[in-house]
């Protein structure tokens, strides 16, 4: 039983039923929203400082001690800017797109467990819900690109659809490995069954899931949607002011959300010794996020055909093989000896990744015209 449900029960004994139903929901929404927005703002600051360190500069350091108020100033600046809508834009869609990109990200947090029982709602199909909701933002991105009436944005929109659809498959297949092992789709169950974090039990699944999600949140080296050196700012080229801010928040919200999902699925969620669960959870999110920032600061970008090739020729077969291996192990290996599985799976992951890196070529190239 989650904390909110307990609160609702207690409230039900003193308040009328409808109030007891609505009040905890509102409190829960406010708390989760507050958490998400603060984390996003902190992460924006964190990323800029980290990038500064990676790029032998200091990063924002003027506003407040160590520049901690910089994201607030940035937010103010962006919000106060004029909202420009291109004359030939599809106005309604142009207006709707940032909302559709941003809303699903908040919805993801409904099923993210922050601690024991500290979850907005413990859906029994939690992880399926995450997958379903997160792919919605692809629609928003496509709408933004289409409605802007800008060719760069259109290219980005088409890239977005191709990329999201391709990377959804390996991501879901690697999630299935986790689900097989847990035997439940509930996020809470997934966390509680990780006495050994799944990153150790399914290293290959983790790698696939991680790369897939990095592609889904458009981070380097898969940031083709906003490849600034090619298509300016991609789908949000024609956005400014509040709408741009929503995209910006959405980008980081995506990063926070996926960091949280990765932490939940593979890093043992809020579990951990000594420290309170929420602190452990935050530590894991920040660790994942920092790794993503590190990748962004280090790696160049793939080309669009190479990106597709990577999804279909590398990640997807590996994900299928991974699923088979996990299924076989769940079926035949005794549950009492998980450490055998750790050794076995690391061996499998090493061999498979080595094999694929030898066999697999990104290929592609020139087209005769």
């Amino acid at each position: 039983m989650t904390l909110l449900e307990q609160f609702q029960l207690w409230l039900g004994s003193i308040w009328p039923e409808w109030a007891a139903y609505i009040t905890p929901a509102i409190i829960g929404v406010v708390v989760v929203l507050g958490f998400v927005l603060t984390t996003v703002i902190i992460f924006i600051y964190l990323e800029r400082r980290l990038l500064g360190r990676f790029q032998i500069r200091t990063g924002p350091n003027r506003l407040g001690p160590e520049g901690i108020f910089q994201p607030i100033a940035t937010a103010l600046k962006v919000l106060l800017k004029e909202d420009i809508v291109p004359a030939k834009a599809d106005k309604a869609v142009h207006w709707l797109a940032p909302v559709i990109v941003f809303a699903p990200i908040l919805l993801i947090f409904a099923v993210v467990p922050f601690g024991k029982g500290a979850i907005f709602t413990d859906l029994n199909v939690g992880i399926v819900y995450v997958v379903a909701i997160s792919s919605l933002s692809a629609v928003g991105i496509y709408m933004a690109g289409w409605a802007s009436s800008n060719k760069y944005a259109l290219i980005a929109a088409l890239r977005a659809v191709a990329q999201m659809v391709s990377y959804e498959l390996p991501v879901i297949l690697s999630i299935l490995g986790v689900v097989l092992m847990v035997g439940s789709l509930s996020m809470n169950q997934i966390v509680e069954s990780q006495s050994i974090p799944f990153i150790l039990l399914q290293p290959l699944g983790f790698v696939i899931f991680f790369l897939g999600t990095v592609a889904e949140m458009n981070r380097c080296p898969f940031d083709l949607l906003e490849a600034d050196s090619e298509i300016v700012a991609g789908y949000h080229t024609e956005y400014s002011g509040m709408k741009f801010a929503l995209f910006y928040l959405g980008e980081y919200g995506h990063a926070v959300a996926y960091s949280a999902i990765i932490a939940t699925l593979f890093l043992g969620g809020w579990q951990g010794p000594l420290l309170p669960p929420i602190i452990w959870f935050l530590i894991k999110i920040v660790a994942v996020f920092c790794f993503i920032v590190w990748m962004r600061a280090t790696l160049p970008r793939l080309r669009v055909d190479q990106l597709m090739a990577f999804a279909w020729k590398c990640l997807l077969p590996l994900a299928v093989i991974n699923l088979f291996i996990i299924a076989a192990e769940v079926l035949w290996l005794p549950e009492s000896m998980p450490w055998i599985m750790v050794v076995l799976n690391f061996a499998f992951a090493g061999v498979l990744i080595l094999l694929w890196s030898k066999l697999f070529t990104l290929g592609g190239g020139r087209v005769e015209v």
Partner: protein, 367 residues
């Protein structure tokens, strides 16, 4: 049923993150595939060739700074060499050495920018650029010591250079020369062994050898295509014949080779610096040249190996104080001729990196 598609035209630039200035490419795209490219230049045209006809030979030196503003020293050098050839002026030994030192430092600085921004075009979010900038910054500090400027130096004079170097210059340069080879190795190791860099740049934007010669490509673009042609060796100017250096030559003529040639050239430049510093003689830094130079009637085509290619000055004198005709041969404009052939059939992303690998500077293209 086949879906009907049609190509569309995309105007890349003049405001675009990767056009290295105000440059426009009129690109015809079929989805992501490039069908046609037409470079449109002239947004930075200042009419330097016309302006120079109304100014004296010395007054024209600052104009040359503003051509390829990432390699001002070499522009100065090319111009003063042409004027000296026209007027028959001898340059003191110390000045010759100082010029070589400056030119090679400038080559390193320019190639650092080229390599950094090539990686940026590949999508490596500013990180390589900032590392390259760190090294370039050291060079700019050295230039500042010499002439007080960091971008437009106006250092060379007809007959020599404007100032002698200050005392602290040589120790600082020696420090730079000592640490630079290690840094180049380090960066090269990071970049040239990166899977994504290799996958993106190998075999992309190939410029075949015969085409490279036919379009009169020069500099790293020509050498990456396998032509061993360096004016410092082929037609030595100043005192380059006294130095020992190699000419790195690529084989495939693709973007990776152009990157590789630049990295190797930086190493060779460091080698030339290593030889030039101990040889630096004492003495005058500028010959006695009249304030208002009146070269005899005639014409001259002076060319040097600038970082971006063959930079030539074609000067016609009518024995007045100003050149009758002042023509600049811009290396990157002519290298750009090949852009269309290199990118047809490739993707938009390849167009960007191929353009980046030519290493253009719009100040020079538009003049």
């Amino acid at each position: 049923m086949a879906i009907r598609t049609e190509p569309f035209i995309l105007n890349m630039g003049p405001q675009h993150p990767s056009t290295h200035g105000v440059f426009r490419m009129r690109v015809t795209l079929d989805g992501e595939v490039v069908l046609d490219v037409e470079p449109v230049v002239g947004y930075l045209h200042r009419g330097i060739e016309k302006l120079a006809e109304g100014r004296t030979y010395t007054q024209n030196i600052p104009f040359t700074d503003r051509l390829d503003y990432l390699a001002s020293m070499t522009n100065n050098l090319a111009y003063v060499l042409a004027v000296e050839k026209l007027a028959g002026i001898e340059v003191p030994e110390r000045a010759e050495h100082l010029r070589i030192i400056m030119a090679e430092m400038m080559r390193i600085a320019s190639h650092l920018m080229a390599v950094g921004f090539f990686l940026n075009d590949l999508g490596a979010m500013m990180t390589p650029v900032l590392y390259m900038w760190r090294e370039r910054e050291k060079l700019l500090d050295l230039f500042e010591m010499v002439c007080g400027q960091r971008l437009t130096y106006n250092y060379m004079r007809v007959g020599g250079v404007s100032h002698d170097i200050p005392e602290e210059f040589l120790p600082a340069l020696r420090r730079f020369v000592a640490e630079m080879p290690g840094l180049i190795d380090e960066y090269d190791q990071f970049l040239a062994q990166n899977e994504i860099v290799l996958a993106r740049s190998k075999g992309v934007g190939v410029l075949p050898e015969d085409l490279a010669i036919n379009i009169a490509a020069s500099g790293p673009v020509l050498r990456a295509s396998g032509v061993q042609w360096d004016i410092r060796r082929g037609d030595p100017y100043s005192i380059y014949d006294r130095f020992d250096f190699d000419i790195p030559v690529g084989s495939a003529g693709d973007c990776y080779d152009r990157y590789w040639v630049r990295v190797q050239e930086m190493r060779q430049s460091v080698r030339i610096l290593e030889q030039a510093i101990p040889q630096l003689p004492q003495g005058e830094v500028c010959a006695k040249v009249p304030q208002l130079l009146r070269p005899p009637v005639g014409e001259v085509y002076g060319r040097i190996e600038a970082p971006k290619g063959e930079l030539g000055f074609y000067l016609v004198s009518d024995n007045s104080i100003a050149p009758y005709r002042f023509r600049i041969r811009p290396p990157t404009l002519i290298n750009l001729t090949a852009l269309r052939d290199m990118v047809i059939g490739w993707k938009v992303a390849d167009l960007i990196i191929t353009f980046g690998s030519i290493d253009v500077c719009l100040g020079e293209i538009d003049r």
